[in-house]
Symmetry: C2
Subunit: 356 residues, 2 copies
């Protein structure tokens, strides 16, 4: 494995006030960089001060969006230790994204070492306040300076981090979701299961429309029939119907969320039945009308477990659980965050210590 060269900043950045910090706006002192080209493979692994990099305007990433990313967090436990949550899942997913986008994967051990080393260097940036963490954004961009659509020969892999509070400025209150019936985010055979920029770019217009109408996020339907529920903007979604939990299956157009997977494992360990299957929007509307839809929540690294208070489809709005947080939603939130912040025993061995 390559050594990681470390160049420490001489001008430490101002740390944000964690009570008011906005998600993804304040970056830590350092970033990890590593270059790839087909001749040399991955090389020049280094940690340098966070700051701008000169980019030629003909760089492929600006034109053809050959770009992928990940999102995970480092947590500071009550004992002051720092830990990651299932980083190997993000590392593996990034390799899958790379494959879909014709990009090279990063060696798994190197990736984990890069994460740990960067967080150790920026240890003081892992916040202590309740509900806060260090959001970690690994990403890879195509850097060939060339027009003409092709697989880039050169790439930059980068990890930046930022201390974050709760994803929703309002805290863990139930959110209002708009079921999008026109724009489509992903389709079978497309890039839905990959964490590539294009999926998110395609989703922005619908997000803006939803926000203007007072919704927090958009729920996407499948691209083929526009009938089956896929996922929310930055979360997978789960429904509790008559005591059982239902969630859309990983069909190739849904992102395989780490929080989704962990939630399913936790729920099953607690004795809940969890079904992964195709779920039509009609079925959910029906269950809600009949009073059988007991809870709805989203799962995601940034958003953790987010209760869904209402869902709007075309002209119909369904209020779920009287707009209050449901029992399983709350239990999942406490269970997961408990493991993440080290207040609940990590029976699944999900956490990975960062400190040496």
């Amino acid at each position: 494995m390559q050594d990681i060269r470390i160049e420490r900043t001489t001008q430490p950045r101002q740390k944000p006030d964690m009570a008011t910090v906005r998600f993804g706006r304040s970056f830590s002192d350092h970033m990890f960089l590593m270059n790839y080209d087909s001749k040399n493979g991955w090389h020049d692994a280094r940690i340098v001060p966070y700051g701008p990099i000169p980019m030629e305007m003909a760089s492929m990433v600006f034109h053809y969006a050959q770009e992928i990313f990940e999102g995970l967090k480092a947590y500071r436990t009550a004992a002051g230790k720092i830990q990651l949550f299932r980083p190997e899942e993000n590392i593996r997913r990034m390799a899958q994204s790379a494959d879909r986008m014709g990009m090279p994967a990063v060696d798994e051990d190197m990736f984990l070492e890069a994460l740990k080393t960067l967080i150790r260097v920026d240890e003081s940036w892992v916040p202590e306040m309740k509900e806060t963490s260090l959001y970690i954004r690994p990403f890879m961009i195509a850097t060939d300076v060339a027009l003409g659509v092709h697989a880039s020969d050169s790439y930059l892999f980068c990890i930046i981090t930022c201390p974050v509070g709760s994803y929703y400025p309002e805290g863990i209150n139930p959110v209002k979701i708009l079921i999008e019936s026109e724009d489509v985010r992903a389709v079978r055979g497309g890039t839905g299961y990959a964490k590539c920029g294009g999926n998110y770019g395609a989703s922005i217009r619908a997000g803006v429309k939803a926000t203007r109408q007072g919704f927090s996020q958009v729920l996407w339907l499948d691209g083929v029939e526009r009938k089956y529920i896929e996922e929310v903007g930055a979360m997978n979604i789960m429904f509790k119907i008559e005591g059982k939990i239902h969630t859309p299956a990983l069909n190739g157009s849904v992102l395989p969320g780490v929080t989704r997977k962990s939630s399913i494992e936790l729920l099953r360990a607690w004795g809940y039945e969890v079904v992964e299957r195709q779920i039509s929007v009609e079925e959910i509307l029906e269950a809600a009308r009949d009073g059988k839809l007991e809870e709805v929540w989203g799962t995601g690294t940034a958003a953790v477990i987010t209760p869904v208070g209402s869902m709007t489809y075309k002209d119909e709005t369904l209020v779920i659980g009287g707009g209050k947080i449901g029992e399983v939603t709350r239990r999942l939130y406490d269970g997961l965050t408990g493991i993440q912040w080290g207040t609940v025993e990590d029976l699944f061995h999900w956490t990975v210590p960062v400190s040496k």
Copy 2:
């Protein structure tokens, strides 16, 4: 309209040898830049030396591919004059792309003025050799320094140019096309009609696979049924069957090509019947087997009119027109390029002079 500030280079770049130049690898001396933010709108229009720009790694474009582009060309006529080909079509399409991606449009007059001014400044970069032109790449990227998926508040609009020869190193020989049956590029409700980076990123893996197998480009099928023909990597496609010309209709997932539109107009003016409709791959295979498929060609700014010599679908390869250039393909190529290089009268008023 804003004034364009011009800062000329003091270190002119080396011009490439036009006999061997690769597409999109040599850039002219200058580029046009203009910034947007929601408070000031578009501002600071300027032409500066081509060169790298410092970019923060948290810039939105690297993560969520909120990025769109265009492609058009400037041609030098035998009389030495420089002209653009239907730039208003590209300007309008870029506004449509911007709308789909939740981005601000560039004022049409400003856009045209930027194109003309930049090409005047880099006049010496418009090549003279036969079959060469100056490829122009306007594009817009999201520049907010913020994670969290949202519509960026700030954007950079940029125009870079490069002298190019023929798109295909082999010249105007019939190309081999692979009909892609697994990966999907675009779907109804998605971003297919927009010229956004994500569409191209999604297409790269299939392109690599096709190239490895000796094909020149991939032909995409629709995302819903994977049955109907949409377009080629960087071209729209046309079929001549028993004297009539057929091309996929603009259904929302196909890029509305300027060369496609111009070809249809030319063909109709010449008395050909052109039908825009849904075309299944089965129908084309059938026509080919029955000897009714007379010609196939692609249309695109970079690739102009490209004869398709063979199409491969799963295990079947169809050779078209004995692998030679068809009569209509040749006539279209000559007709279009004749107008573009000023050797044929521009009856449609498609060209726009750049020289004052």
